[in-house]
Amino acid sequence: MMEILTSRHWLEWAITIAKFAFAFVPIGFILLLIPLERRGAGFIQDRQGPNRSYFKLPYFGRIRLFGWVQNACDGLKLFFKEVYAPNHVHRILFALAPAIPFAIVLISPCVIPWFAPMVFTFGDAVIRIPGQTVDSEVGVLLLFGLSSLSAYGAVLAGWASNSKFSLLGGLRTSAMTISYEVCLGLSLMGMLLLAGSFRIDEIIAWQDAHVWGIVAQPVAFFCFLIAMIAETGRAPFDVAEGEPELVAGFHTEYGAMQFGLFYMGEYSHIGINSILVACLFLGGYSVPFVEMSTIQANVGISLGVLCGLIVLALLAFLHMIYRYSRWYKTSSASNKEVILREYSLYKLLAWAAVPVVLVLGILSALFFHPEYTIINGEMVYGAGVAFGTALIQLLTLLVKACFFCWVWIWVRWTLPRFRYDHVMHLGWKVILNIALINLVVTAVIAKLVLGGN
């Protein structure tokens, strides 16, 4: 026991344990996705979306946070509703089923690399930290295996509810998951073939060295994206819970937080899938047009640029706030004072943050000069550089993932639902074939051009 403990530096253990916190990133995506979905849907349909829930602050009055407070209201409502089970259900399975998709969500991001493997010197020791929580050779296969397990939640819910709507919903979910898992795996095979590894960090390294997967494998990217959307069971592929036919599908009999768990499971599944697509086809944590070694050598300037981007975003935010409040002053609204008082808080916070971030960025650009030691012919920096680089890479990954989260919502509120047979036709007769042809073509080209083994 002691040998295992002493085999690594204490800092390595600490970081390894701290990395478990990344399991909660998909849950954080729920907080982003729910307002994005509801207000995004509103804007797409020329509505305003839910923006009226608020909390009160002493001076600033009603703080609406642009509809973000709606999250808390939804959550509170679901938490405090009575957990109710109808008489005819299978008690144990009925209670177990909603936990499965949500538990899977906590486990499955374990193989996603959040940053490039960190190598840094700490005192005399050289510490290596892999970017993923579980440094597994099978990587993406493990992720697929885990995320397809969430279908069990739907199937169990459908079976345990003992209602024909739920049962049909569960059946459809299992059929969808099985069909589209095939397409998912096959469309990814081309990318795996090029990178020559199942490990996600090696796929990202390949993209970093050559081109992004979306350029190298555009067909595979679209097949993968469609299969991903279908696998999460959202519109236009939401046949599993199609309201016109099946009431709500497998969670017809659920209410309160049991329904909330399905709901949150679905959203965090979207979060995980967005991160995965970003990793596999959009270069993951690699910053576009900049080498990782460049970032490490100029980590102070890189952090300064990051701060500059944050300042730009803050200024854009301020510009929008000022524009809108100027319009609001001239409008005929009866709650002008309330809204303008609320906006004064945002102005205050943003104006307070701008100089702080700016000074931080300038200081880091001027005074953060890393020192390196050469180990085995490679430059190895200290812990500060490693953490700074990791932060930049993590943010890059999250920004890319947020873009794909938006794609999910965008597609949902654009395309009409497919009929069930159309979904199966698209899955088995179209996407599967395209993915197979793509795989063959990729294999031939890879053999001819890259001269692989």
């Binding site: 804007f43 305003q48 965008w410 597609v411």
Partner: protein
């Protein structure tokens, strides 16, 4: 006559679906960006704080027009009650105190829970005594009885809320043409 509308068959690009899907995505993105960057141009308004503009031609809550002396113009002829398809108007007639006019309403009640806002009463009135141009579309009461508008509530309107070109409204007490109208009416207020 049966009219057959021929649907334009889709060409092969449209049948591929993917390109049309992208076109749809482009459209929704335009709408999203409009909502995000030009929030104030959204066609919806935050209702109780901002109210949509309602034209006076909109058939809203009723009002009874007034003579220059403040009595309702209604002559209790029952035309509106006869025209009403919902039978929501109840009138009781009384003899008028003005010698030139035969009758006046002693009760005039409109049940707004029954009213269908068709505007036939306005069309039927021979003396232009009832109008629906108050622009009042939302009125809330505690009990069903409160929804029955009577002679008092129907005549409680302010001439200043109406257009200055609206002669009949301005001739009522408080209006800008009231003095002029009173002179031609030549009668004291009872």
């Amino acid at each position: 006559m049966v009219r057959q509308i021929k649907q334009k068959p889709m060409n092969w690009i449209e049948r591929l679906y993917i390109f049309e899907a992208f076109r749809g995505l482009f459209t929704t993105m335009k709408h999203y960006l409009r909502g995000f960057f030009r929030y104030e141009t959204l066609p919806t308004v935050p209702y109780p704080e901002m109210k949509p503009e309602i034209l006076p031609t909109y058939r809203a809550k009723h009002r009874l027009m007034l003579r220059p002396d403040g009595t309702p113009r209604c002559v209790a002829c029952f035309m509106c009650a006869a025209a009403c398809p919902a039978n929501c108007i109840y009138i009781e007639a009384d003899s008028s105190l003005d010698g030139r006019i035969e009758k006046k309403p002693s009760r005039f009640e409109i049940d707004h829970l029954v009213c269908v806002f068709c505007g036939l009463c306005v069309e039927a009135c021979p003396v232009d005594a009832i109008r629906m141009d108050t622009c009042d579309t939302s009125y809330v009461h505690r009990t069903r009885e409160d929804f029955i508008a009577n002679l008092e509530t129907l005549t409680q309107w302010n001439p200043n809320d109406y257009s200055q070109n609206d002669v009949l409204s301005q001739a009522a007490p408080g209006g800008i043409k009231n003095q002029q109208a009173l002179e031609s009416w030549k009668l004291r207020v009872y």
